[in-house]
């Protein structure tokens, strides 16, 4: 009996010791990340049967378990992924929003200054100082675009760098997890019993770190080995075998790096955007938001360049020469080639180019052209639901896509399955440069002008449109002919129709006129001059009810040379391009286009902020719930210390009582 009392006491002592140790462990690890508090499970020892009753024989510690709620832990993992995603996206979008707003403001300012200078030239066309100011402002404008592009490039590099870092970290975590799995497996497989709590904690901590980078789900097998899957179910740690993540440069766009899952000697591509967590946010930001903003800025640069270049080309500079490009031509060979990315898997030798034909309808989407053996097929990568367009058979190019650009073949023939990625807007902002150095090259003067006869009696006018070759227009009007006369009158045979004739002023009818024609009341007639089959240098539009006083008294207009150093007609037209819509089907002016792009980014950033706040709140809730079960509370542990201390003291009292009893018995039998 006494013996069993000893044993009981000792068992209580040992139990109390273990409990104290566990409590001490908890207190020591109060600040350890991911630590789950442990508890010694105390069980009563089974009673010994002596006769017809069971006498209890003390206590034992069955196991030291950790207080772990797997459901709340899973919830925390999930909300941690969402938080990682939302935080990363918010930080990046805020940065992009800053860049767009500040650099965007700079561009709007430069644009305004440029047009101010053009208006100055419209007032005083032969002032060379004002002309050089225009060129200065043009340089500043193109520099602003270059800088904006550089900022985008820096952001891309930063995101790519982060992706690489995260991939390396994930690979490290994967290896660690595999090692821990192995250790746990061995500890479970041998005759050791009990849970390796701290190893489990370490493993959970690693998984928690992983969940910030991607979405994580786990499956535990009977040996306690955890298989870890990331994203939509891609296995990262298969039991004790780790797989790693590798970053490869993209194909065909090398800046669009890709993730690959490496296992032994083989690797498989992973779609970064479906991984969840901050990795997905990085990919989403780089491939969607940053790309979109960059394409829109590129398209704006292209619109500005081509509009101003066209304005220049329809006028004459101070030397009577057709205005040269003021900004880089949007269809230089370098730009045309840069718009097409060739997949490295292509076997054919085709090196295609993209030629822009109409900036106003150009989209910011990305396209893919594939040679299926017979035709080129073009699909829209940004809008997968759009129909596939058949461009045509190789050799019959260039192919008009109907979206403002052409696919131009160059180099050798394509092979079956060759794919090309087209980004029509690529590089326009980066390569935008101001081309003119001499102020007299600004084409402020118009080439030809219309003078109505003072004897005209009706309402109506003739306007000059579409001057494509101002020098030829002048020569045709003044040299080939001695001025052109256009006369119009209302047809007597068909009232409501107006007949017109265009002829050389020195060679009036009955000599054959250059062009004749008619138009209906309320309409107008557009005449190419010189008429086909010659190449049209300019067009005139005859409109209005030019009734005239009769067949022999028609309304007359003379078209003559208008060039002069004091002519600022073309500068006026150029200045007006600030207010005409160019992009988006001709609806948005330049500054409006920029404002739209900026506010799109701003609203994305603002939404991301809201999402981040929500995600943070959800994560905090999940964390709290998890901590409610697993977290260490110092006050509780302090109380436990006292509790187990007392138990220890009481148990030692048992031993001392047992000792006293033994002494008593011993002294009784002496």
């Amino acid at each position: 009996m006494t013996v069993s009392l000893y044993q009981t006491g000792v068992s209580g002592l040992l139990a109390a010791q273990q409990q104290l140790a566990t409590t001490g462990h908890n207190i020591a690890n109060v600040n350890t990340d991911g630590y789950t508090r442990q508890r010694a499970e105390q069980n009563a020892s089974p009673g010994l049967n002596n006769g017809n009753k069971y006498t209890g024989s003390g206590t034992y510690i069955q196991d030291i378990t950790r207080l772990y709620d797997q459901f709340s832990h899973k919830e925390q993992l999930q909300s941690q992924s969402n938080l990682g995603n939302a935080d990363s996206l918010q930080a990046r979008l805020s940065q992009l929003d800053q860049i767009m707003s500040t650099s965007g403001n700079a561009v709007v300012g430069s644009l305004d200054n440029f047009y101010q200078a053009v208006n100055g030239v419209a007032d005083n066309p032969n002032d060379s100082g004002l002309r050089s100011i225009v060129l200065n402002q043009a340089t500043i404008l193109s520099n602003d675009f270059n800088e904006l592009t550089e900022n985008f490039d820096k952001m891309t590099n930063a995101v790519n760098g982060e992706i690489e870092q995260v991939a390396a970290q994930i690979s490290d975590i994967s290896r660690e997890l595999a090692k821990i799995n192995e250790t746990i497996m061995h500890s479970n497989g041998s005759l050791q019993t009990g849970q390796p709590n701290d190893l489990l904690d370490k493993r959970d901590q690693l998984i928690s770190q992983l969940s910030e980078f991607t979405r994580v789900s786990t499956v535990e097998d009977s040996n306690g080995v955890l298989t870890v899957m990331i994203g939509q179910g891609t296995t990262l740690v298969a039991g004790i075998t780790p797989l790693t993540l590798q970053v490869n440069s993209g194909d065909p766009d090398t800046n669009k790096t890709e993730l690959r899952l490496v296992s032994g000697s083989s690797n498989v591509a992973i779609n970064g955007e479906s991984l969840g967590g901050s990795l997905a946010a990085s990919f989403e930001f780089r491939d969607q938001h940053l790309n979109q903003a960059r394409n829109e800025i590129d398209r704006l640069a292209m619109a500005i360049s081509s509009t101003l270049n066209d304005s220049q080309a329809s006028g004459l500079d101070l030397n009577g020469v057709q205005g040269a490009n003021i900004f880089t031509d949007i269809n230089t060979t370098q730009l045309q080639q840069g718009r097409v990315l060739t997949a490295s898997s292509n076997t054919g030798g085709l090196q295609p180019q993209v030629n822009i034909t109409d900036v106003s309808i150009l989209p910011t989407d990305k396209f893919e052209v594939r040679f299926d053996g017979v035709n080129y097929q073009m699909s829209n990568l940004s809008k997968p639901s759009a129909a596939v367009v058949t461009l045509g058979i190789p050799g019959t190019g260039p192919f008009d896509s109907g979206l403002g650009f052409e696919f131009v073949e160059a180099g050798l023939a394509p092979a079956l399955g060759d794919t090309f990625t087209l980004v029509p807007t690529k590089n326009s902002a980066a390569l935008m440069k101001s081309m003119l150095t001499d102020g007299s090259a600004i084409a402020a003067s118009t080439a030809v002008g219309v003078t109505p006869s003072p004897n005209n009696i009706s309402d109506g006018k003739i306007e000059i449109l579409n001057v494509t070759d101002p020098e030829a227009a002048r020569i045709y009007t003044n040299t080939t002919n001695t001025g052109l006369t256009v006369d119009v009158y209302e047809s007597t045979a068909f009232p409501g129709t107006f007949d017109y004739r265009v002829f050389d002023s020195a060679n009036p009818p009955p000599a054959p006129p250059i062009v004749t024609g008619n138009y209906n009341a309320g309409g107008s007639a557009i005449v190419d001059l010189p008429p086909s089959p010659a190449i049209s240098a300019f067009q005139i539009e005859i409109k209005g009810d030019l009734v005239g006083s009769g067949t022999n008294a028609r309304e007359e207009f003379t078209i003559g040379d208008a060039f002069g150093s004091g002519n600022s007609g073309n500068a006026l037209i150029m200045a007006k391009t600030q207010e005409i819509g160019v992009t988006n089907g001709g609806q948005e002016t330049f500054s409006r286009s920029l404002a739209v792009s900026t506010s799109v980014v701003g609203s994305k950033a603002s939404n991301a902020e809201l999402s981040a706040d929500t995600a943070q709140a959800l994560f905090t809730q999940a964390y709290n719930r998890n901590q409610a079960t697993s977290g260490v509370n110092l006050d509780e542990e302090a109380a436990n210390l006292l509790k187990y201390q007392q138990a220890y003291q009481a148990a030692s009292q048992i031993i001392s009582t047992a000792n006293t009893l033994f002494d008593t018995i011993l002294s009784a039998v002496r």
């Binding site: 208006n119 207010e579 799109v600 709290n624 409610a628 302090a638």
Partner: protein
């Protein structure tokens, strides 16, 4: 619900950092005075705000252009006022010259006065603006528009170009008038023809000669010179054109309108038999030609033979001078009208600017009262969280055991 120690510290630190981030943000707004710093602050209003900023920039542009156009048109108005004065002086001299008791020396003195007025007018025609550009040359602002030939006539060397400036979205205002339009194309006081008198014993003059049917006129044979002759015996009027007789001989009654080839002619005075004159097409007469005619008339001195013709010439020249003065006045009115339009546009723009600025301010400007009270609030929240933390963090059972 159980709260772990780690949770407590995490929550406190999170709250404190979020409160101090809040304070920071509010400070940024306060120091800039703007509610919308980047598009993120109010994405929906941002594009409206950009629209307002664009409008304001455009209005600035228009105001600048208005100022420039005003300075051009002001210069023209001043120049025209000078021209009007000169023409008036010439007219006065011309009126004086018709006094029958003027001697040759007097007429020569008048003629040289008119000559110096002519030179002044020529100089006005060649006015240059502050940049050295000739304002009446059209587009050829580096070329002097008017030059006098050795025979005294003045030719125009510029072109017919008119420059414009944009002063509102759809309004362009011309900034110059061509020398051609101002000085060379004065309407002929008679109509569309001038008369050249071969024999004029009666003092008959062409009062008006207008083309009223261009269709018929354009198909009549060229050149359009018509000879009016009054029969030496019957005093019947015959008009002969290039293709033959267009008005068969018929007696002429005073005040009768003579029509032929789409032209209507009226004469003044009573023609005598034997009178004849030729009318040729001239729709516009240059001012310089008129003044030269006046000088030539004066330099003839007192005339004793063919005084009727002399008087007819005088009347023609004086009428043409009046026509020239009206013409210059009209040109001055043109500049005046443009200045008026510019003025009203400027007022319109100022009004619009005010309205747009107000709207822009509503979106962009910070409501300082609200912002400051929000800033105070977030400051207090931060302080409260800091104090709460310091009070509570010291509470632990370990202090008591």
């Amino acid at each position: 619900m159980r709260v772990s120690t780690a949770q407590f510290y995490l929550q406190s630190s999170q709250q404190m950092s979020s409160k101090s981030a809040d304070v920071n943000e509010r400070m940024a707004y306060l120091t800039s005075g703007k509610r919308v710093l980047t598009a993120k602050d109010d994405a929906v209003s941002f594009s409206t705000l950009s629209g307002y900023k664009d409008d304001l920039a455009n209005i600035e542009k228009y105001k600048r252009n208005i100022d420039r156009a005003e300075s051009h048109n002001n210069l023209q108005e001043v120049v025209f006022a000078d021209a009007e004065l000169i023409l008036d002086k010439i007219k006065q001299d011309m009126l004086l010259a018709n006094n029958g008791r003027m001697s040759t020396e007097d007429l020569q003195a008048l003629a040289s006065q008119v000559r110096s007025s002519f030179d002044q007018l020529l100089d006005i025609g060649n006015t240059q603006n502050e940049n050295g550009d000739y304002i009446f040359s059209g587009y050829q602002t580096e070329l002097q528009p008017f030059s006098q030939k050795p025979d005294g006539s003045v030719s125009y060397g510029g072109d017919t170009g008119v420059n414009e400036l944009q002063v509102a979205k759809n309004i362009n205002i011309p900034t110059n008038q061509t020398g051609d339009a101002v000085f060379m194309t004065v309407a002929n006081a008679i109509g569309d023809f001038t008369a050249n008198y071969t024999t004029n014993t009666s003092g008959v003059a062409v009062e008006s000669a207008n083309i009223n049917d261009r269709g018929t006129y354009n198909t009549s044979p060229l050149p359009h010179d018509y000879t009016f002759s009054f029969d030496a015996i019957t005093n019947d009027l015959t008009v002969t054109g290039s293709g033959g007789i267009v008005f068969p001989p018929a007696p002429y009654t005073a005040g009768q309108t003579i029509s032929f080839d789409g032209i209507d002619v009226t004469l003044s005075g009573n023609p005598l038999p034997g009178d004849s004159f030729v009318i040729s097409e001239q729709e516009e007469v240059s001012i310089f030609e008129t003044i030269n005619n006046a000088i030539a008339w004066m330099e003839q001195g007192p005339v004793s033979v063919n005084q009727e013709q002399h008087q007819v010439d005088y009347n023609t020249t004086l009428n043409q001078l009046n026509s020239a003065m009206n013409h210059i006045s009209s040109r001055r009115v043109d500049s005046g009208i443009r200045l008026q339009v510019l003025e009203s546009q400027k007022d319109r723009h100022l009004d619009t600017e005010l309205a747009v600025s107000a709207n822009k301010g509503k979106i962009e400007d910070l409501d300082f009262a609200k912002a400051i009270s929000e800033f105070e609030q977030s400051k207090i929240a931060l302080q409260a969280s800091q104090q709460a933390f310091s009070k509570v963090q010291g509470l632990t059972l370990f202090n008591y055991i």
